[in-house]
């Protein structure tokens, strides 16, 4: 099965019953599969007039208490940014699939890239926090889509599946579990206000039609949900909470693989380049290079870097000019060497080994 189809199957298994999207290469198979699947499950697929509308519609869908998702690629992701900020600020749980292609602009519609990783974290204006997952197998396209829904609900944030054209269009064997774990958002407790945080900083969810009579606004709002856009302290407290509720849970959210934690030379990768690193490690059995594969990229699980106690250097192959390498360097004293690959072709394992040998 193809990665994009596995993603749609993951969404369906996770109980997603509303999809709004706009066709864009190389993500369209996700929409096409949802268009086939949802009507038969009592769900709704709607093709919107653009990506701004798609993002808006899934936020509307999410507030009815229905798990909602859209799928896109670079240019569409850019168009979604304003409403992604709205979702973050209004604490709307929703899932956005980004099958990354070469940018900037129209770039390489049919070729893979990982150029939207910082945009996922910082792309909308203002400060906020989100969750971003990165699959490197078709199986993970399924598993991490399910996980994205659970995390979106758990933290009431937009959760992104930051995949790429290689994994989205890859076909390999997938095993669907009979049942997947779907953890619904916690509901609001009696006497609490709709945007009043609990101890974990996340307010209980108040979907429409349940008598909560909640007002949802993109303006700075108080715990009642009412606009209060000129109170500096209130705004600061709200934004800090929205960032903190995700950032302080970063190790709960972290999903990763670690190979050879005692290594001196350590690869860090996510998405398609993980496949190149794994092959490189297989091709060099005599060397014991370390490898950290990140399935969670945001919030960045910086504590994992400390597990490589002997690390002298971190090598970071990415299909961009070092977006996550820059993040890694913020957290460690050792040199972090980006190994960028642009243009759509995946890093060749022998090239990764050559880069590693240069640091021996």
């Amino acid at each position: 099965m193809q990665g994009n189809d596995a993603c749609a199957e993951g969404a369906v298994a996770a109980g997603c019953r509303f999809f709004a999207g706009y066709p864009i290469t190389p993500s369209s198979e996700v929409a096409e599969q949802m268009a086939r699947r949802l009507p038969k499950l009592g769900g709704t697929f709607i093709q919107m007039e653009d990506e701004l509308a798609s993002m808006a519609a899934i936020i509307g869908g999410a507030w009815t208490g229905v798990r909602s998702m859209t799928a896109t690629s670079g240019p569409g992701f850019s168009l979604m940014m304003e409403n992604i900020g709205y979702a973050a600020f209004t604490e709307t749980p929703c899932v956005v699939i980004n099958i990354q292609r070469g940018g900037p602009s129209t770039g390489q519609p049919t070729m893979a890239a990982q150029g939207d990783m910082l945009q996922a974290r910082f792309g909308s204006h203002g400060d906020y926090s989100v969750i971003a997952l990165a699959p490197s197998t078709v199986q993970e396209m399924f598993n991490l889509t399910v996980k994205a829904f659970n995390l979106a609900d758990r933290f009431r944030v937009p959760a992104f599946l930051m995949s790429d054209e290689i994994i989205g269009h890859l076909r390999e064997r997938v095993e669907f579990p009979d049942e997947v774990e779907c953890i619904p958002p916690k509901t609001i407790r009696e006497g609490m206000l709709p945007f009043e945080p609990e101890d974990d900083l996340v307010p209980g969810f108040t979907p429409f039609g349940k008598g909560h009579r909640v007002h949802v606004t993109g303006l700075t709002h108080n715990e009642k949900g009412y606009p209060a856009s000129t109170d500096p302290d209130l705004h600061e407290k709200l934004v800090m909470r929205l960032v903190e509720k995700v950032e302080r849970a970063r190790h709960e959210i972290a999903d990763y693989d670690i190979v050879n934690p005692e290594a001196e030379i350590v690869f860090i990768s996510y998405g398609a380049p993980t496949r190149a690193v794994r092959q490189a490690l297989l091709d060099a059995p005599g060397k014991s290079y370390g490898h950290l594969n990140l399935r969670t990229v945001w919030p960045f699980p910086e504590g994992l870097l400390k597990k490589f106690t002997n690390a002298r250097v971190f090598l970071v192959p990415e299909m961009n000019l070092g977006q996550i390498a820059r993040e890694i360097q913020r957290h460690v004293d050792q040199p972090v060497i980006p190994i960028p690959r642009l243009g759509g072709a995946l890093h060749v394992p022998s090239y990764l080994l050559k880069s590693a040998e240069e640091h021996e």
Binding site: F18, A20, T44, I46, A53, G60, E82
Partner: protein
């Protein structure tokens, strides 16, 4: 229940200027929903950005105050994800026809079962009186200091052409007719569009020799041409005065609609 029961009293005082007509339109809308026996918890108000769009926050239902121009796609999501909600959109002329124009067209094309009420004050009121796509030719705004040169949008013709089932235009002077039009629109399956020409004394009237509320309302009343009269003039081959705009029920039909709760 009465229309007052739909207000969020704890949101008062509202932000509208003295003399603003938006409150009248909210009143007419709530009068209409209440007279239909709609339930607060089955109804969702959605709005974009601008003075008009603050309306959703003064109403007791679940509501979404969204981003500029995007009220309709948010509302589309609410309606399509859960068809048993009654969904009403408040928008302004700038919000709906400039930044949100494409969404408006496609919502009419889909003929989705929501009601869109446009408070057309012919200006960007909240941001200080900039020209909008509905600013009349020659009118002064902060971005048309020498008079608007562009042609204004006829939002009702647009909605009809794009496929909306019900289209009506009134003004904030025509309270009874407006309430009835909203009531009809709410009941009609498919997209109902009600444009309400409304006075903005602060940012439109002040710059266009309509300083007080009364002169603005008189001007609206004097320039409103009943559709029936317009049709009669046309039939008689008589000219329609340039400075008049048509009010009344402009489209009322039953084309297949999207998102109707069956």
């Amino acid at each position: 229940m009465s229309a007052e029961d739909w207000f969020r009293e704890d949101r008062l005082p509202h932000i509208f200027c003295a003399g603003c007509g938006n409150g009248t339109i909210i009143n007419c809308t709530l009068e209409a929903v209440d007279s239909l026996g709609w339930k607060i918890d089955d109804t969702v108000f959605v709005s974009g950005i601008g003075c008009s769009s603050r309306a959703s926050g003064y109403i007791k239902t679940d509501s979404l105050h969204t981003t500029h121009g995007r009220a309709i796609p948010f509302a589309t999501g609410v309606k399509m994800a859960k068809k048993d909600f009654n969904v009403v959109v408040f928008s302004g002329d700038g919000d709906l026809s400039a930044i949100g124009g494409n969404h408006f067209i496609h919502a009419c094309r889909r003929n989705i079962d929501i009601t869109v009420i446009c408070m057309n004050n012919q200006i960007y009121g909240m941001t200080g009186g900039q020209g909008s796509p509905c600013t009349p030719k020659g009118a002064v705004s902060t971005t048309t200091p020498y008079g608007m040169e562009e042609n204004p949008f006829d939002l009702c013709e647009l909605a009809s052409a794009a496929g909306a089932n019900y289209v009506a235009r009134w003004t904030s002077y025509h309270v009874k007719e407006l309430t009835q039009a909203i009531k009809t629109g709410l009941q009609r399956p498919g997209l109902s569009f009600i444009e309400v020409v409304v006075q903005c004394p602060t940012n439109y009237g002040r710059r266009n020799r309509l300083r007080d509320v009364q002169s603005m309302i008189s001007a609206m009343k004097d320039h409103a041409l009943l559709k029936e009269k317009r049709d009669r003039l046309l039939a008689e081959g008589k000219p329609i005065p340039d400075d008049m705009f048509v009010v009344g029920t402009l489209t009322d039909r039953n084309r297949p609609a999207l998102g109707v709760n069956e």
